[in-house]
Subunit: 122 residues, 2 copies
DNA sequence: GATTTCCTTTACGACTTCTTCACGAGTCGA
DNA sequence: TCGACTCGTGAAGAAGTCGTAAAGGAAATC
């Protein structure tokens, strides 16, 4: 019987080369640990729970911050930006968070299209 | 049955160049013995039992001190600091204890980032 | 009894994170 | 082209977290 396992430990999400351990607040990218803040981690978890779905800012806000999203609040956008930065630093040739203007964000691991530099003039 | 060898082997943790003999309270760094206090040793053991996992301060506190961590108690942080000092003195180019702000600590042997000159970051 | 080591708590500075604001780029319709 | 709207992101100040030295007392050792 696994002694130290708590109830939450069993919950792990996988998305491409990303491993999200919900109980630990730990994300592994290609096996290497990322350092995410609490907000960043919970936002990633909220999106990764519904891969392929377009999730509204309201849903993300209440999942991570709790309560209702007030008009003009850009917290979700700001943290999506931070999260993208860290994910891209760890895995430059993949994209995870896709914007659907007017609707929300969609989480899905995909290969980046224009990562390679210098494909240049067309 | 030959007690000594098998029993000691089962009670020894290895992490990089670190050897932790649980039954003896002995830690070897690159073969040389470290002098750790009881608290330091048990804290190291508690983290090394779950390599790669983020362990909360609450878990570490109850594993080493016993009972519940009370708000404002910084014992875990203080002993993490002491432990880091001794580990770094023995093995300057390795890091074992990684902080995950808002979540806890993660034990995993890794090369330090800025000890070597011109370290290539893979 | 004196000395040393260890443990706990406190304090403060450094660092990180969170929230909000601001500006610019891109999009869409008239 | 113009105006309204959405989105990306850098920056600033506030708030919170973490690293660590140090003080004082307890326990062990001589």
């Amino acid at each position: 019987m696994p002694v130290e396992a708590s109830a939450e430990n069993a919950n792990t999400l996988y998305a491409g080369e990303l491993e999200i351990r919900l109980g630990e607040g730990l994300v592994l990218a290609t096996g290497r640990a990322l350092t995410l803040s609490v907000r960043e981690f919970e936002l990633l978890a909220a999106m990764a729970r519904r891969p392929g779905a377009v999730v509204t800012r309201s849903e993300l806000y209440s999942a991570v911050w709790g309560g209702e999203l007030r008009g003009g609040d850009r917290s979700v956008d700001v943290y999506v930006s931070k999260l993208r930065g860290k994910l891209e630093a760890a895995m430059p040739d993949r994209r995870f968070i896709h914007t659907h203007p007017g609707f929300g964000y969609r989480f899905q691991p995909e290969l980046s299209r224009n990562v390679h530099n210098g494909a240049s003039a067309a």
